[in-house]
Amino acid sequence: MTEQKTQGRTIGQLIWRRFLKNKLGVIGGVVIALFFLVTVVAPFLATMDIVEQSAQHILAPPQKIHFQDEDGKWTRPFVYNLTKHRDRDTLRLSYTEDRSQKFYVRMFVKEFEYRILWVLPGRIHLFGVDEGCRWNLLGTDPFGRDLYSRILMGSQVSLSVPLVGVSLSIFFGTVIGVISGYFGGRVDYYIQRCLEIMMSFPSLPLWLALAAAVPITLPSAYRYLLIVMILSLIDWAGLARVVRGKVLQYRDEDFVLAAQMSGCGLGRIILKHLVPGTLSHLIVCATLAIPGMILGESALSFLGIGITPPLTSWGLLLKDAHKLEVLVHHQWITIPGFLIIVVVLCFNFLGDGLRNAADPYS
């Protein structure tokens, strides 16, 4: 019965069916897809330019959206402007709503210019408020910059770093793994020893050392690239081992021999016959490697040696929370931390689901 069922399906279909049974994995995958969608259109969703500072809104709390006016009547959603006060004794800032004027929330407002994925230009933003009001949906940071917009734009860095990093890891891991597994012998022995050494390095101290070596004056974009490279530097060793194990297993199989007999070149054998066999395990390992990269990037940025302004990332946003007294009185600045937890958790669920599904015959 099961014999018949499995017939006529590719391994990919089997893996997919098995994966769909893992509810946590599917939920994780869906949430991650949503996050990436938001990331791509982030500037469209943002309400303010992320570099726009305001001395009048230093560490302002999230502005409430009102649905009822003073008389309790339901109206269109609106917000009030905030006025800043400083307590004479404690010198602490507090904000009160200025109830004299209502600013209605509007859809598709024209605001600052942006480009989606570097090409698609636009000025329309999903929502905003009437002119004359600064609306900080999730509060502001110590420079009075809008946290909601910064979180959105920061997600572009926080979520692209692991993707680019893992792509690099996959590339190097596959190349080295295939070489090690296919040629075997002495080459394999030395590569394996090197990988063992790389994997025995304490990752974070090494990242710290490398990131600190990157000049802080370097333009943000170059620094971003170097940070990605640093993060994937240790990571690919694990992937190389997985690939090597699989290649070693397939190398002496009949189908490879057949390919050799029929005159396939080395490149073709490796790309067409060996790499596809390792693909499912590679994808699983890559997915499970992503959380480590997100956490690594956020830790480096939090310490101030990762991503540098004008770019921002969730870890960099959390840097403001390092002062405990700031954190205690302005809890909204910890929102990026919870987003990191959600994304990493979902990647872990997804990776776990894929791992369980990757071997459909077991």
Binding site: R193, F201, P205, A213, L295, H322, V328, I340
Partner: protein, 332 residues
């Protein structure tokens, strides 16, 4: 067994050399010449009182000590030979010998890492066993999801939250290692209690991520072992379930957790480093971070080396422990 340990020790020598070379390479990466900058700073501090003569003698002294005018490999050789002799060079920022600075701080790093390791095992193994014995029950699901969440919280973020919790809710001091009155006191039980009161947050934070891994490995392995035919045979023989589980299955299932020490240690050290930086605990972590930022290369290099050596020894002990626990492993 003795030959096994000796072979393993000999195998560590090339690893040590390569690791030390990588460390040396990394600390030399920053483009600016630290020695020139250091001397410039000195001159500025003294308000130009430094005569050019004493300047030159200082440059000369430093050049002599670290062989700065010699080729790269000679510099490396000098550095690593001195390191092995216990001469780790001088920290320029602290104006002290590196070995003295490390002697004060590294023991605390190791203590906190080991406490975290104990925490990871003490929490992870029982929960893993429970999850395996109660597979697919509510408790199992809760343990799994809790483990996943522990794995997903950035260490520094959890540390921040627990610090706020400790400071504002429990009203206890956070950060540092001791209360002022115990700072210079000799070790006693109450000093240790004070130490624990200060580091529990760090231990908890460093431990959470590792615990999830241990839970999953113990659970998976115990389930695998419990499905083996020899377990069925033992049950058929009429052995009580407790004996089957703990005497026969558990001991086999625990092996990968023991070898895993080699795998957990890097993450513990990583966790210790960042948590100590965030909580300002005077261990090797903040010292390393500061040294890296100020390009105090003999200090940062030595700390990196010490951490790597700590890992190498950890791996060695794990291998020996495994050979001891599992008689199937051959010594030759």
């Amino acid at each position: 067994m003795v030959t096994f340990v000796i072979r393993r020790l000999l195998g560590m020598i090339p690893t040590f050399l390569i690791v030390s070379f990588i460390v040396f390479f990394i600390i030399q990466l920053p483009p600016s010449n630290w020695i020139e900058r250091h001397i410039e700073n000195l001159a500025l501090e003294k308000g130009g009182m430094f005569s050019s003569e004493s300047h030159r003698s200082l440059v000369h002294e430093l050049t002599e000590r670290y062989h700065l005018d010699r080729p790269y490999m000679v510099q490396y050789g000098t550095w690593i030979l001195n390191f092995l002799r216990g001469d780790m060079g001088e920290s320029f920022e602290y104006r002290k010998e590196v070995s003295g600075l490390l002697a004060k701080r590294v023991p605390y790093s190791i203590m906190i890492s080991l406490l975290s390791l104990i925490f990871v095992y003490a929490v992870g193994i029982p929960i893993g066993v429970y999850s395996a014995l109660n597979q697919n029950t509510l408790g199992d699901y809760i343990a799994t999801i809790a483990g996943f969440i522990g794995l997903s919280i950035p260490n520094f973020f959890l540390a921040l939250i627990l610090m706020v919790f400790g400071l504002y809710v429990l009203d206890i001091p956070v950060g540092g290692l001791f209360s002022p009155e115990y700072e210079d006191a000799p070790w006693s039980f109450s000093k240790f209690a004070d130490f624990l009161q200060h580091v529990w947050i760090a231990v908890l934070v460093i431990g959470t991520s590792g615990t999830a891994g241990v839970i999953r490995v113990v659970r998976g392995n115990l389930l695998d072992v419990l499905g083996e035919p020899y377990i069925t045979a033992l049950r058929a023989k009429g052995l009580p379930e407790k004996t089957v589980t703990f005497k026969h299955a558990f001991r086999i299932a625990i092996n990968p957790v023991v070898t895993g020490i080699g795998m957990w240690l890097p993450s513990l050290i990583a966790g210790e480093t960042i948590v100590s930086i965030v909580m300002n605990i005077p261990t090797a972590g903040p010292l390393l971070f500061g040294a890296l930022k100020s390009e105090d290369i003999y200090l940062s290099g030595s700390i990196l080396m010490v951490l790597c050596i700590f890992l190498l020894i950890g791996n060695l002990l794990a291998d020996i422990a495994l050979a001891w626990v599992d008689p199937r492993i051959r010594y030759d």
